[in-house]
């Protein structure tokens, strides 16, 4: 367990009768890029806030960088929240000064924050209240990266950003990752982006973890096959997703189950690997429990 940068074990959180997280378990190895995906209300933000120690878990354990979590972690963990919660009447200069305090008495974190602001095309003189949504996101990302963290927790850093701001945000993030191997847990809805960046995928749905493991593993469990209309699925199961396409129907099928393999061979159909989006759609659409890998 100690070699994992993030280890979450049977984590449950509820607010009153609202059970937001129900026994979530997963782990992320050091230096790995993990994507936390789930539909709206799946519990992504709550999970990240729990990792940051903002909420007391009802049950379960959390370890960050090998240490059990008892309060808000130090500057080695960078966090960018979904909603920017900086005081509105502060300017970015004030934030920089704060970084000097938080950055364990080194000036470099402050300098780095200025450099990142410049890269993000933000002026230190601007007040938080003047910033657009995209600029707030960028400021938060710069703030998180300035302390040279070894673990980054990012909550939808590209949500609602225009093309330019999104590009700047990704530039900041990827530029940082190229310089320093960092463990990242990125919560996002953008599964196309997730597919390009992720090594590990954590799929949440209604407070439960549907999958936690390597991206290639989850993709290799399913296949997309185009079948002519009128062809029946094997008696033992139905395809997870059916979609009408020009040549017939497109099915997403679990190839880990033997009778599907046999069925594919019998009908001589060739299948392709699904995208992460296709798999996630199928899992989230399914109301019943899908197996959790971890």
């Amino acid at each position: 367990m100690n070699e994992k940068a993030i280890a979450v074990d049977q984590l449950s959180v509820s607010f009153g009768k609202n059970h937001v997280l129900r026994g979530v378990s997963f782990s992320v190895a050091y230096g790995s890029f993990a994507v936390l995906a789930g539909p709206n209300g799946a519990g992504k933000t709550t999970l990240l806030r729990c990792l940051m120690g903002f909420y007391q878990p009802e049950k379960g354990h959390v370890q960050l960088l090998g240490k059990p979590l008892c309060h808000t972690p130090g500057p080695e963990v960078g966090f960018a929240a979904e909603a920017c919660d900086y005081p509105e009447d502060w300017s970015l200069k004030h934030l920089a000064r704060f970084r000097r305090l938080a950055g364990a008495a080194n000036l470099t974190a402050e300098e780095k924050f200025y450099r990142l602001l410049e890269e993000a095309k933000l002026s230190p003189a601007w007040k938080v209240s003047q910033l657009s949504r995209g600029q707030r996101s960028l400021a938060q990302l710069a703030w998180a990266l300035a302390a040279n963290p070894t673990l980054l927790l990012l909550d939808e850093p590209t949500l609602g950003l225009d093309a330019v701001a999104r590009e700047l945000a990704l530039d900041l993030l990827l530029g940082y990752l190229a310089e320093k191997p960092t463990t990242v847990l990125l919560a996002t809805q953008d599964l196309d982006l997730a597919e390009r960046l992720a090594e590990t995928v954590v799929l949440l749905h209604r407070g439960r973890c549907h999958w936690a493991g390597p991206l290639d593993d989850i993709k290799s469990r399913y296949q997309v096959v185009t079948v002519p209309r009128g062809l029946n699925a094997p008696a033992q199961g139905a395809p997870l997703v059916r979609r009408d396409v020009l040549q017939g129907e497109q099915w997403l099928i679990p190839v880990t189950i033997d009778h599907w393999k046999v069925w594919l061979q019998e009908h001589g159909l060739s299948a392709r690997t699904p995208t992460l989006g296709e798999v996630a759609f199928a899992l989230w659409q399914e109301q019943k429990e899908a197996p959790c890998a971890s």
Binding site: D171, G175, R196, A198, E199, K219, T273
Partner: protein, 241 residues
């Protein structure tokens, strides 16, 4: 049109430079200068049509090539990092290769990197294969600098770990070489191996091709034809370059 000839349009400082033009896409009047200040009279004009194309189509990689070989990688503090062009779009796997000397773009080449999430091959291996193709067709000539992990990752929106794995694989194969402190370059010579070794590698690749041809029901002459044709295609591209 296969791009501007050297010495035309941009007021090239080195009119005698060879042009390596390959698969230039669209009306390629567009040239860009990475890092030239706005007041620089040499800054080329970017036509509206060309900028629209840039907005819609390509992520760019600027390969600081040109002459002298391998001398293009070092930027002074005044210059912004080379290889970062203004206008580009993420995630389209298109690469725009600029060959330029100090500030003047010599040539613009578009390369489609075609990274496919529905391909069971991992992304790093797809990227390595595409880069191998660039070398095989001569789009990346021996001695050309290869963009850094940072630049490639940012411009292709890929995890730096993925990019670095692809580059490492190519370095291990001997397609690329690393010069310490300077970066990664295309190797000056094809990978050094003994004839028997080479035969082994070729046999392995040929085997998988033969298997595929037979499963498709192709006859030997048909398969040989296809190989010859592809070979000529590569040669033709090289010739153009």
């Amino acid at each position: 049109m296969r791009g501007a000839k050297p010495g035309t349009g941009v007021g090239s400082a080195h009119p005698a430079l060879p042009v390596r033009a390959l698969g230039v896409r669209g009306a390629s009047g567009r040239v860009g200068v990475a890092g030239a200040p706005a007041a620089d009279s040499r800054r080329p004009h970017i036509s509206r049509a060309a900028s629209a194309e840039a907005k819609g189509s390509f992520a760019g990689i600027c390969i600081p090539g040109g002459l002298p070989k391998g001398g293009g990688g070092s930027g002074t503090a005044q210059e912004p990092p080379r290889g970062l062009m203004g206008s580009r779009k993420r995630g389209l796997d298109k690469v725009r290769v600029y060959y330029y000397t100090d500030t003047v773009v010599q040539q613009e080449v578009h390369v489609d990197l075609k990274l496919d999430p529905t391909d069971p091959t991992p992304l790093w291996s797809q990227l390595a294969q595409r880069l191998r193709e660039l070398v095989a067709t001569g789009r990346l000539a021996p001695g050309d600098p290869v963009p850094s992990v940072r630049v490639l990752a940012r411009q292709l929106t890929l995890n730096p770990a993925t990019v670095s794995k692809a580059l490492q694989a190519l370095v291990a194969e001997g397609v690329f070489t690393v010069r310490r402190g300077e970066g990664t370059f295309v190797a000056l010579h094809p990978p050094q191996m003994s004839p028997s070794q080479r035969q082994q590698v070729l046999a392995k690749a040929a085997f998988s091709y033969a298997v595929q041809a037979r499963t498709l029901g192709a006859a030997l002459p048909e398969a040989q034809n296809a190989l010859t044709q592809q070979w000529r295609e590569l040669e033709k591209n090289r010739g153009d370059a």
